[in-house]
Symmetry: C2
Subunit: 330 residues, 2 copies
């Protein structure tokens, strides 16, 4: 075991046995999804090495199968490809690699913005815009205008958040905790996953339902939790890269409240457990609603939260680092 591994055994971690007890349901189509993703990466070579491809495809397919365990095979594959695309973009162009040269990330995201804005089909020479163009066309064909536009909006927000992150990653302690807490859902992709739920599971909240306090509180709690559990899971491997501290919740809690890393982890774990209790409360509340759309949404959020919790116990967090850890699969 490495030193990092040893350290992981002593830092406090959140306990979700009261709020999100396992085992978590998984789709029967995980293996099918994995094979499809490998084929898709032949068409769009987003990742440089065969090993990176294999690891990311495995994690993404099984993560996606826990995010939407009841999805049809085709929908699950589409969602998994979208998640793989996001994670690969962040691995290749995001935080770590962008730290020294945010202008390159800005150019990359601007190119993707043009695809999102519906411009001409991008050259196949650059696989990220080309793959996004294909993904968006398939999402658009599968749903109504508003659901598609919400998904595309969440992708734009993530791109902007990654650019923001790249401009701060060399001096994380200068980021205000409140700002970080607002940005984090967008860098962990959970808002895109929430937006994708309505497309993948074929339901659509009415505007009045979307505006319900219960829906907003549940989505916010799930979105916060996603980023925080990911931060706790990835902190030590990001810190091992050095020399600066990671732009991550424990870093910002120490900057705000002082104390050592163990205290920051204890504080963050408490935040996670509280937020999990909030999420559970609203899931229970919405799951008994007479509206089938609302119960479906509550169950989708439950599975999304589970997938983020699940991924922190995945081997990717136990072994050597193979990329960044955004999304439920990383």
């Amino acid at each position: 075991m490495t030193d990092t591994g040893d350290a992981a055994t002593i830092l406090p971690r959140p306990d979700f046995t009261a709020t999100f007890p396992g085992p978590f349901p998984a789709s029967l189509h995980g293996d099918h999804t994995e094979r499809q993703l490998l084929g898709w990466l032949e068409e769009y070579p987003l990742l440089p090495s065969a090993e990176a491809r294999s690891v990311l495809v495995n994690i993404t397919s099984h993560g996606a199968s826990r995010t939407f365990p009841t999805a049809d095979p085709d929908d699950l594959v589409l969602f998994a490809e979208l998640l793989l695309w996001l994670t690969a973009f962040d691995d290749v162009h995001g935080e770590g690699n962008a730290a020294g040269a945010p202008a390159i990330l800005v150019d990359g995201t601007a190119e993707l913005m043009l695809v999102l804005a519906g411009g001409s089909p991008p050259s196949l020479m650059n696989p990220f815009p080309a793959a996004l163009y294909s993904l968006l066309a398939r999402c658009r064909a599968r749903t109504g205008p508003a659901a598609y536009l919400r998904l595309a909006a969440s992708l734009r927000d993530t791109l902007m958040a990654l650019v923001w992150e790249a401009h701060h990653v060399t001096e994380p302690e200068r980021v205000a905790l409140a700002t970080y807490l607002q940005m984090r859902p967008h860098t962990v992709f959970v808002r895109t996953i929430i937006a994708a739920a309505e497309i993948v599971l074929d339901y659509e909240l009415a505007d009045a339902q979307r505006a319900l306090a219960a829906v907003r509180h549940l989505e916010n709690a799930g979105a916060n939790l996603a980023g925080w559990v990911n931060d706790l899971a990835s902190y030590e491997r990001e810190a091992a890269r050095g020399p600066m501290q990671p732009l991550s919740l424990p870093t910002l809690l120490r900057a705000r409240h002082g104390g050592n890393l163990e205290e920051a982890f204890a504080r963050a774990s408490g935040m996670c457990e509280n937020e999990a209790a909030v999420a559970r409360q609203w899931i229970i509340s919405l799951a008994s609603d007479p509206s089938r759309t609302l119960t479906t949404h509550a169950r989708a959020l439950e599975d999304i939260v589970r997938s983020f919790i699940w991924h922190t116990s995945h081997a990717r967090y136990q072994g050597p680092k193979c990329g960044r850890e955004p999304g439920p699969t990383a």
Copy 2:
């Protein structure tokens, strides 16, 4: 007259008398809009000086009244406020001021992204997020989900484009012409204006109509034309700021094709005239369509193009510089 003014008399300019002959219609509510904008800026002090406020309000109100000459007074005011907000943000945070420190612009746009993403109401301490929050709420109340989401998407695209621009403004000659041509509609706000048309004039294209070649070609021609006429109008004042050349069509045409500034202006003017002919062709084609929605859209695009042409002859371009020149009012 200044030297810049003298130079303006000899550089070639596009001739739109065959494609968009004046005079252009204007709303009767221009003066009302101007008074409303002045009151709005009391609530949201976006601009530092009384003089800047007065100039921008005058230009914006009369520009907006030419963009949507048939709009109801309330709709026209809302649109003018949105346009004023965009122009003021660009004046205060954009290109010129962001050149030395794009990270500050990135933070400003990230804050706005959070508002667009529907987070908590922003503090009233910072007028740009607070004003955007109010504008979005009023737009959302006035239209359906998809039209609102399209407007919000165009604003996100503009923010990303302004960030892209800020990262390139110190070395404009390194930007590829093709990239510039794709980004320019987003920095000149014309895509937001096109998205606003459906809200301001209360119509909505069906998806199949939006996908029509005639609609896409007309929108693209109008969007290109907007950026190019603005570049020709603002070039000399931006160049006078020095030391580098402006990130503007003439600069990139010289980098691509060589030649002097006069030749670049002649080439750009030819591009404008060709694009105006394309726009006119599709306006004629759509204006005779049996669908009232399509004829309304064609007329809206005609007025949008007129507003961009109109603003190049405004006093703001003849006198001393009072800010950047994005949008039809600048």
